[in-house]
């Protein structure tokens, strides 16, 4: 049991955390993409706006060109430049270029002109006088049919306002991106939690049950978890079958060992009665003792196995220790009476309610009392006392026997360890081991005191509440 449930579980991170991290990563990438798109589109829109205004300005200048006597003339429309100035403090440059000579404007504003006439405005970006500018170039032919002159109108504007707009747009894009990221992450947390809820339900359905609850798991599970749940259930079925088998095995083993021993012992007793010769009688007596010894060992081995088995799947019931002691004493009195041993029970009249596995505890009490009877001389008393000591119920068994000798008292709890003064008394050395294990299964302990010539005292300490 312990081996099955005690194997270290290898955990490789939480599924929920993994899911959240993955979803957040996706959200982050999407936010970044969103940011880039928003900024790109807005930038584009802003620069398109500037281009349109530049083009409108250049075209309105071009529209104002006229020819007078072969000379290209221009009356610069004020509105052509003012429409550019409205936006911000951007500086505006222009040049009207007639066959390579500047009609008006900045001479050094040179933009390569197309050689043909086109209604299309041409845009370019470059550095002018140490500042980046956006320029538009419109080429027109001015003049009569016979005398045509190609005139290039260039209007340029610094990009200061564009940079400002772009900065504002970037801020907005960042805000939108962050907001999107936060919302998406929140949603992914929620989704991960929701997606894993059935798993948690199954897990808590399994952990909530007691160690002895071997019913199949019936928690609602989505289709994906069905194989896991059914595997778990089939494991539970196999486990309970194997537990039932080991219980049956212990019972069966006991039966197999004890029945033939009972036959041999009974036949030996019958023969013992019919024998007259004392030498034969004592030989048979030896034989019966050996049988007793092996049956006792077998019994205690099986008891020990059963005690371990039950302690592993501990099931507590509310009992009254006083009743349990009385029952055990009554059960063993005939054996004690055979040796004229009186078992005297006394208690302090307090409350001895305790939560225990009654079968385990009774087995422990029986072992202690059985020991006491075994090691007591005929015509003696065994005192059984129930009392409270600080935080413990104490059940003490005091006999007038030979006591424990030759062993460190602690060693009595080890399997097959017996004292040096056991002499010819039949025993396996498992009795106190069983008692100790039962006490420990109930959160208590056993104390042995032994004074030479005063008998032994075995006390069972069981924790109060």
């Amino acid at each position: 049991m312990k081996a099955i449930f005690g194997t270290p579980l290898i955990t490789r991170g939480s599924m929920q955390r993994r899911l959240v991290i993955q979803l957040s990563l996706i959200a982050f990438l999407l936010s970044l993409l969103l940011f880039l798109i928003v900024r790109g589109v807005a930038d584009r829109a802003a620069s398109d706006t500037q281009d349109n205004i530049l083009a409108a300005s250049a075209i309105s200048i071009a529209d104002a060109l006229y020819s007078e006597g072969g000379q290209v003339q221009l009356e610069l429309p004020y509105s052509a430049l003012s429409m550019l100035g409205t936006i911000s403090e951007d500086r505006v440059f222009y040049r009207v270029n007639v066959d390579g000579t500047t009609l008006t404007g900045y001479d050094d504003l040179v933009v390569s002109a197309r050689s043909d006439v086109s209604t299309q405005a041409e845009f370019s970006t470059f550095s002018y006088r140490g500042e980046p500018v956006r320029a538009v170039s419109v080429t027109r032919s001015v003049g009569s049919q016979s005398q045509r002159t190609l005139v290039q109108v260039v209007v340029a504007q610094t990009r200061l306002s564009l940079a400002q707009i772009s900065y504002r747009i970037t801020l907005w894009a960042v805000a939108i991106g962050v907001a999107f990221f936060l919302v998406a992450t929140g949603l992914s947390l929620w989704a991960a939690h929701n997606a894993l809820a059935p798993l948690n339900r199954v897990a808590s359905a399994v952990t909530r049950r007691g160690p002895n609850d071997l019913r199949p798991v019936r928690a609602e599970a989505p289709a994906e978890l069905a194989p896991l749940v059914s595997a778990l259930n089939s494991f539970i079925v196999r486990l309970s079958a194997s537990l039932a088998r080991s219980e049956d095995f212990i019972a069966e083993a006991a039966h197999r060992v004890r029945t033939p021993l009972a036959t041999v012992r009974t036949q030996a007793e019958v023969i013992h009665r019919s024998l007259q010769h004392s030498k034969n009688k004592s030989a048979l007596r030896e034989m019966i003792r050996a049988i007793d010894e092996s049956s006792r060992s077998a019994g205690q081995l099986l008891d020990h196995a059963m005690v371990n088995f039950r302690a592993d799947q501990f099931q507590a019931v509310d009992i009254d220790l006083r009743e349990l002691v009385a029952e055990t004493v009554e059960r063993l009195s005939p054996t004690a009476e055979l040796k004229d041993i009186a078992i005297l029970v006394s208690d302090t009249g307090e409350d001895f309610a305790f939560s225990a596995d009654p079968i385990l505890l009774q087995n422990a009490l029986r072992n202690v009392l059985d020991n006491a009877i075994k090691y007591s001389p005929p015509d003696s008393d065994i005192l059984v006392k129930l009392f409270h000591d600080s935080n413990f119920h104490v059940i003490s068994f005091h006999d007038q026997g030979r006591g424990f000798e030759g062993l460190n008292l602690e060693n009595h709890f080890e399997r097959f360890k017996r004292g040096t003064n056991v002499g010819d008394i039949v025993g396996s050395g498992l009795g106190l081991t069983i008692v100790n294990e039962v006490a420990r299964a109930h959160g208590g302990h056993v104390k042995i005191t032994s004074n030479k010539g005063e008998g032994a005292c075995v006390s069972l300490f069981l924790p109060l509440a």
């Binding site: 009974t266 007793e269 039950r310």
Partner: protein, 222 residues
């Protein structure tokens, strides 16, 4: 007293029957549940010794049926199973006691006696000899000069003598019946008990006489 032994293992059953016969008890043997039910239906038994694992069923079924039928005959279960697991259910089902195989006959006898005493169902619980009455239910000796309580071994010793007054019992025989075989006792231990008994019979019409080199017998005082 009449016993019914329900046990499927033939060798064990024979040995137990032999052993009971030595002490003069009548015992019938049923080797299956069906036999046991038939036996109980025809004769009255003082006590039933019941095995648990039987070829045609579980002894516990017999037990619960027995109790449902309001049959008061006490049942002592002979169990070979682990005492840890069986104990509670056996007593819950109405067994009066149980003995784990292999059992010591002295102990089995003591348990039978205890169960019968609790039931108060022994037909003849008073034996009289020479004005002294042995009450086997109360374990007392009564005479004109008063009543004396007997300890277990004293009682069993008195019972042996009272069952056959005048018969000589050897020390060996008395030892066999008084002490468990797993106990280590010297031969003069019996003298201690005979001595105690004599003290308790003092002043009554009965006495225990030593028959030299043969043993003891119960006789009336002249």
């Amino acid at each position: 007293m009449r016993f019914l032994l329900v046990e499927d293992n033939a060798q064990l059953a024979r040995a137990v029957c032999d052993r009971f016969a030595i002490d003069g008890h009548a015992i019938d043997h049923a080797s299956s549940l069906a036999d046991a039910i038939a036996f109980v239906g025809t004769t009255h038994y003082d006590l039933i010794l019941l095995d648990i694992m039987l070829p045609d069923g579980d002894g516990r079924d017999f037990l619960s049926r027995h109790r449902r039928a309001k049959n008061k005959t006490p049942v002592i279960v002979l169990t070979a199973r682990s005492q840890v697991s069986d104990r509670i259910s056996l007593l819950d089902l109405g067994a009066d006691d149980y003995v784990t195989k292999p059992f010591d006959f002295a102990e089995l006898e003591a348990r039978c006696r205890a169960v019968l005493r609790r039931q108060g169902g022994v037909a003849q619980n008073r034996i009289e000899f020479a004005g002294v009455v042995l009450d086997s239910l109360e374990a007392t000796l009564s005479a004109k000069n008063g009543t004396q309580n007997l300890r277990n071994r004293e009682f069993r010793l008195v019972e042996i003598f009272f069952a056959a007054p005048g018969q000589i019992f050897s020390k060996n025989h008395l030892m066999d019946r008084l002490f468990s075989l797993s106990e280590d006792v010297s031969e003069n231990a019996i003298e201690v008990y005979v001595g105690r008994l004599r003290k308790k019979l003092d002043g009554t019409g009965a006495q225990i006489e030593t028959v030299r080199s043969l043993g003891y017998r119960l006789v009336a005082k002249e």
